[in-house]
Symmetry: C4
Amino acid sequence: MKDIDELKKRVCEANKTLLASGLAALTWGNVSGLERKEGKMAIKPSGVDYEDLAADKIVVLSLASGEVCCGDLAPSSDTPTHLEIARAFTAAGAIVHTHSPYATAWAQTGMALPCLGTTHADTFCGDIPVCEQLTAEEAEKDYEANVGKAIVARFSDENLDPGRMPAVLVPGHGPFLWGETPEDAVKNAIVLEEVARMAHLTFSLRHECPRLPEYILKKHFNRKHGPDAYYGQKAT
Amino acid sequence: MKDIDELKKRVCEANKTLLASGLAALTWGNVSGLERKEGKMAIKPSGVDYEDLAADKIVVLSLASGEVCCGDLAPSSDTPTHLEIARAFTAAGAIVHTHSPYATAWAQTGMALPCLGTTHADTFCGDIPVCEQLTAEEAEKDYEANVGKAIVARFSDENLDPGRMPAVLVPGHGPFLWGETPEDAVKNAIVLEEVARMAHLTFSLRHECPRLPEYILKKHFNRKHGPDAYYGQKAT
Amino acid sequence: MKDIDELKKRVCEANKTLLASGLAALTWGNVSGLERKEGKMAIKPSGVDYEDLAADKIVVLSLASGEVCCGDLAPSSDTPTHLEIARAFTAAGAIVHTHSPYATAWAQTGMALPCLGTTHADTFCGDIPVCEQLTAEEAEKDYEANVGKAIVARFSDENLDPGRMPAVLVPGHGPFLWGETPEDAVKNAIVLEEVARMAHLTFSLRHECPRLPEYILKKHFNRKHGPDAYYGQKAT
Amino acid sequence: MKDIDELKKRVCEANKTLLASGLAALTWGNVSGLERKEGKMAIKPSGVDYEDLAADKIVVLSLASGEVCCGDLAPSSDTPTHLEIARAFTAAGAIVHTHSPYATAWAQTGMALPCLGTTHADTFCGDIPVCEQLTAEEAEKDYEANVGKAIVARFSDENLDPGRMPAVLVPGHGPFLWGETPEDAVKNAIVLEEVARMAHLTFSLRHECPRLPEYILKKHFNRKHGPDAYYGQKAT
């Protein structure tokens, strides 16, 4: 269980970072982390203030069944969404949901967040997709699981690689992101909010704005990711 | 009088929270709290800086007559508005008025603040209504009481439930909110400012923006409020 | 000279408040104060960082001649503008100039800042006027004095009362404000920036936005100013 | 080597200022400094957090060859851009690149940042130019050096004086700036972000906005720069 204890600490810290980095007001956001060898997910308890979070309040569930296996508190109400994403995107080690204002504004428009610059391309290899709005039937029963299914369906329909596009917008709701670790996933959420803000500023200056050429987009993404990356220091 | 002393402390703290949370600059905002068993309202004194507030400066009035029964200072000039709201919305335990910038901008447009997302729906069950602008006659005499009457009339005319819609915009002026306690009412003011900002960002990206479907709105509101709520921890 | 020493202290503090309140970045803003009995103006030295200001660095000039009578440093390059305003608006005890972003944006549009709400009306009795842009000749020689003359001409042409309208926008430049004391003038600058921001937010939501009715404007201004004011505590 | 040690300290501090002044999030920005007598450039290492920077981590390269002559870390991936600028603009003593949000938004529009006011004219003698977007071939090979060449070409084509226009926008990317010292260059970046913000606010109020008259632009720039400057204190 040492790995789980370590995971709970990191998930706790990552949740607190949402508040510190301005991504989440009140209790609006949650981070989960995965221990895939043990088939477990650790996630924020529902409705608990970030200031009151501690590692021992993080809830641990079975990734397969969703049943709580450790912790006295109820898990985040968004847990079924996290579970659907975690089951489908098997390279993800952590998932984040926020209501950060600029990303949420894009989600509320129902439009994909276009790649307008290299700040975006350094982290996200293309436009940030929007999944379908749920039907009334999908919202009525298993709402949160159906949000997750709509996300997975969008990636499957458009043949998107969740390793190169670690973000999605749920229309009328907000963003979900993922990464290899809780720290990565939160960093992706910080970058998404920043590029959502830059795209907002750009659109309000020039609505018919040029897209970043595909070859610059690829150049920047591949400068930081994959076998030919040359940004940063070589690991030693 | 123990209850009144406790109320004065909480009303004092809630007023200070307006400044700390960025909802009020200078002296632009006020919180009142109600002790309905004793028929009393406690409210911020007029024009006093938040830094200089202390529980013993909070003014206590008769809810029925509006007459000051305790305190050396003059009550907020908006007191008659608070009294009208308190008398009509009998479940409210506290009332807040601010000039927070995004909510005030919506009030200045004269348009209702539309429900564009789940952040809004989690707290407010529908669009935030705007009351009627006062006539010259209504502004001339008993101005502040007439603002309160216009608010109450809007809820009555549109058959709105103040328990499910704890906010209103006064056109050309700003928002009024309420809640069960001073802390609740201030929390509602924080949420309103945040969703007013998100709606502003959304509108400037896409003016003809989709509304949140009614079934998602209801799903989210009822997830947090009422008998079928399942957000947060079960009270023990 | 005791009054002058006191004035230098207050002018120094008021200049530092520009930085603390976010109205001025770098060295972009200046406050002057007047000791009319002695015919003196105290003003910020040119190009000195706010952090480095001290009362003994404040420059004192003759209001009549503009000649420095005390201090080793050169006065603000905007001094001739302050002098023109001080000579014409004889009730003013202090003058402020800033490049605060929202007020400057309105100045850059060349449009008056319309009164859209009570936050504005509580301090400014009408739209914030814009003076004329200088001609090439006026800019070439005595530029800063001619800015001041353009301000005074606008108030004279439109029969504006500087006591009820303590602000003006210089097109393509930024705002000038005044008040009875250095603290009042800076407070007016804080309010102007806030209402400029609210008007900006309102315009971006609804370009054809309703003006605040004249009778509400007057009601709010007179609630706080003049013989029938009833806001705040009675002076004792 | 004393000069180089001093330069590394100042370049280190200037990089940290990017974070402190809000110009750079995460690791998005870099400052280089030049010791032209020794033919050296000192620059931020690639991908290192600002908090972890220290003078001994600053990388020193040959200005002529671009080869690292001191330091264990890889230099910023933007180094070839800095080198091209440094070789062409021989009066520059330091270069800055940021992704600050307002300047980046203008870069993303592909439009020059127009001079709308005196805040702009005090530092930049005209509109901030945008260089050409690279072709696919230019992006494929020697991408970063080609960005630098596109910047230099724009100044050459339009006969711009880098001493009077210490800034450029790279389309779809962000700004580059320069100055006599690392502190000057960072100060120019702070001013650019502020005027980019003011221009954004102005455009969203009035899209067909008046330009600052050329004679006011020149008046303000020359008030602060060149032989007839009269802003600030005379050097003694």
